[in-house]
């Protein structure tokens, strides 16, 4: 019973494009570290080279690596097929919406010092505004790259 179960499990994992357990284990072990690095690069853009574009590319690279090793069907759980394009639109909307919010509260477009957050001086508001728009850039770049890969696969 146990033997059959393990066989079934193995076969299910083998249905990806790459039929090698070593590649599967390595990629599944490596992906979280790449994602952590991507988040670090995104959040550390204020203090060191990095930011939204680079962090988004790293996050996309981890998911594309899972798509390549596990196959399209088994990597649906971490990023479903139909999600990337709405997510990319959401990222661009976060960016544009931040600018619009500042404009509604009396500043000019994308002037973050007018964002409606109390208890923060204008310099800190601009700090927060930069972080928010970098978040939008990260989401947009990540999901656009994943979407291009999915479309190249023809799914």
């Amino acid at each position: 019973m146990n033997e059959v179960n393990r066989d079934l499990l193995l076969r299910r994992h083998m249905e990806g494009p790459i039929v090698s357990p070593i590649v599967h284990v390595c990629c599944r072990g490596l992906a979280p570290f790449i994602q952590i690095t991507g988040l670090y690069v995104f959040f550390h853009g204020h203090y060191s080279p990095g930011g939204g574009f680079q962090g988004g590319v790293l996050l996309a690279a981890s998911i594309i690596m899972l798509r390549m090793s596990l196959g399209l069907a088994d990597s649906q759980r971490i990023m479903p097929n139909r999600l990337p394009i709405p997510l990319a639109a959401l990222g661009a909307l976060i960016y544009a919406g931040t600018g619009l919010l500042a404009m509604l509260w009396g500043g000019s477009y994308l002037d973050y010092s007018f964002l409606p957050l109390p208890m923060l001086d204008p310099a800190m508001l601009r700090y927060v505004g930069i972080l928010v728009i970098e978040l939008g850039v990260t989401i947009c770049v990540m999901s656009t790259l994943i979407s291009i890969y999915d479309n190249l696969l023809g799914s």
Binding site: Y127, I130, E134, V141
Partner: protein
């Protein structure tokens, strides 16, 4: 014909070399791009950014402040271009089910 090609390329190479020789040294504080004011006594953008980036946004990384704050509209355009590229790939590459 071939001699003319080589002549034109050589003259362009000579022109570029002359121009490159007369470029200011990297990091020269007296070069026009690094001065605090230009020939017309007006302010220069680079010097303003270096002096005020941290005070304006409390962010040590000057490049991030310029990218996301001073030149935020440009970065918005870049993001929209990335998104438009994704949508274009979607419509070009997706498998039609009809």
């Amino acid at each position: 014909m071939k001699a003319i090609h080589i002549l034109v390329l050589a003259s362009f190479a000579a022109l570029l070399m002359v121009a490159a020789v007369h470029l200011p040294r990297r990091g020269d504080p007296n070069s026009p791009a690094n001065r605090a004011e230009n020939v017309l006594k007006g302010p220069v953008a680079g010097a303003y950014y270096i002096q005020n980036a941290y005070l304006d946004a409390k962010t040590p990384n000057m490049v991030t402040v310029i990218l996301a704050d001073y030149r935020g509209f440009d970065t918005l355009g870049e993001t929209v271009v990335v998104f438009a590229g994704g949508v274009a790939c979607l419509y070009l590459l997706r498998r039609r089910t009809s």
